[in-house]
Subunit: 212 residues, 2 copies
């Protein structure tokens, strides 16, 4: 199993957590999104994924991009904790909450969006931070409200789910950009507990070989 | 079945297509994203979906947001064409391509992002259009390349899939913002063919009761 990876990519971070939770050994191949104008734009990488984004997972003859698709694939082919319940009402609850993070928050405030804002509107550091905070605060405010009545020790009850896998990288980003987490006690507490788990610790950006 | 809907929302448009393909009758409840500062921000709607986004589907006791989750739910509970194959390699191909549109393109250039760009950076109409075009062109260039070797009469082979359901609303947006579709002959031809289908026509923004 090969993961084309970048230490600070939230999407790659999700896949690292899922692989660790399932106990699947993998080889990380770092794709540096900053160096050389972004190694994801190299001809070799663009041939692997024309989107020129990480992560990509290669499992034998299967090559997949999109972190949520990769995690569904792992969930449906490998043992270990089921990250999306295979049926019942909680199946859709988990999917929707994970997408609240992976679709409504993350795509608007990742590296390539900030690069475009810089390029087009010449924004300064303060405005960049405000942009990041705005989308994280908007999403976290809704998520905090949704988690309150359903949470257990993790986001959805008492088993780690795909929501937790998406939450921790987003909280990492939130802290990086100075979001005040005291407004989100449920999120903050759950993320803190998840970060004590070995699978999450080993997946953390600062614990990757390519971290600088 | 009740769909909280807005004629120009790409995400709601996807759900309308899926409902029509499956032949499920539904009642559309328009949520005007522009009027009154955005009806999605009203207390009643925010109680239904704290994210304050459309669509939301209510099916008896089930209330769901996130268009991709809603469509998975419909796929797994209702008859009609299977939009994501239930197994096999094509299952993940369909998921990843749909997410290439629904995660990598659409969230960065919807109404609320443009409103924030206006609010924060006071961008003019030309820059707004360029922003929209940039993300659609970036995503379509990759998608065009991916579709070339796998497409049939539709995106993935010869049956309508979730990829087609995501593609048509994104092409509608592309045309609205003046993207030159001649650069994407596969996408353009497939979207043209899909738009001849009754399920897609009835879901089109201009055919909704709340279209203005």
């Amino acid at each position: 199993m090969i993961l084309y990876d970048y230490w600070r990519s939230s999407a790659a971070y999700r896949v690292r957590i899922a692989l660790n939770l399932k106990g699947i050994p993998y080889q990380s191949v770092p794709v540096n999104l900053i160096k050389e104008g972004g190694q994801q734009h190299s001809a070799d990488y663009a041939a692997l994924n024309p989107n020129e984004l990480v992560p990509v997972l290669v499992d034998g003859e299967v090559t997949l991009n999109q972190s949520l698709t990769i995690i569904d694939y792992l969930d449906e082919h490998y043992a270990g904790p089921q990250l999306t319940p295979s049926e019942g009402k909680q199946r859709y609850l988990v999917k929707a909450l994970a997408q609240d993070i992976a679709i409504d928050i993350h795509p608007i405030n990742n590296l390539r969006v900030i690069q475009q804002l810089n390029h087009r509107f010449d924004i300064d550091e303060r405005n960049k931070v405000h942009w990041m905070q705005h989308w994280i605060n908007t999403g976290f405010a809704a998520l905090e409200q949704k988690l309150a009545p359903i949470r257990g020790i993790y986001c959805v009850g008492y088993e780690v789910s795909l929501v937790d896998v998406c939450l921790v990288p987003q909280v990492y980003n939130a802290l990086r950009f100075g979001v005040d987490m005291s407004a989100y006690p449920n999120i903050d507490e759950i993320a803190g507990r998840l970060n004590e788990l070995d699978a999450f610790q080993r997946a953390a950006p600062d614990n990757q070989n390519d971290a600088t």
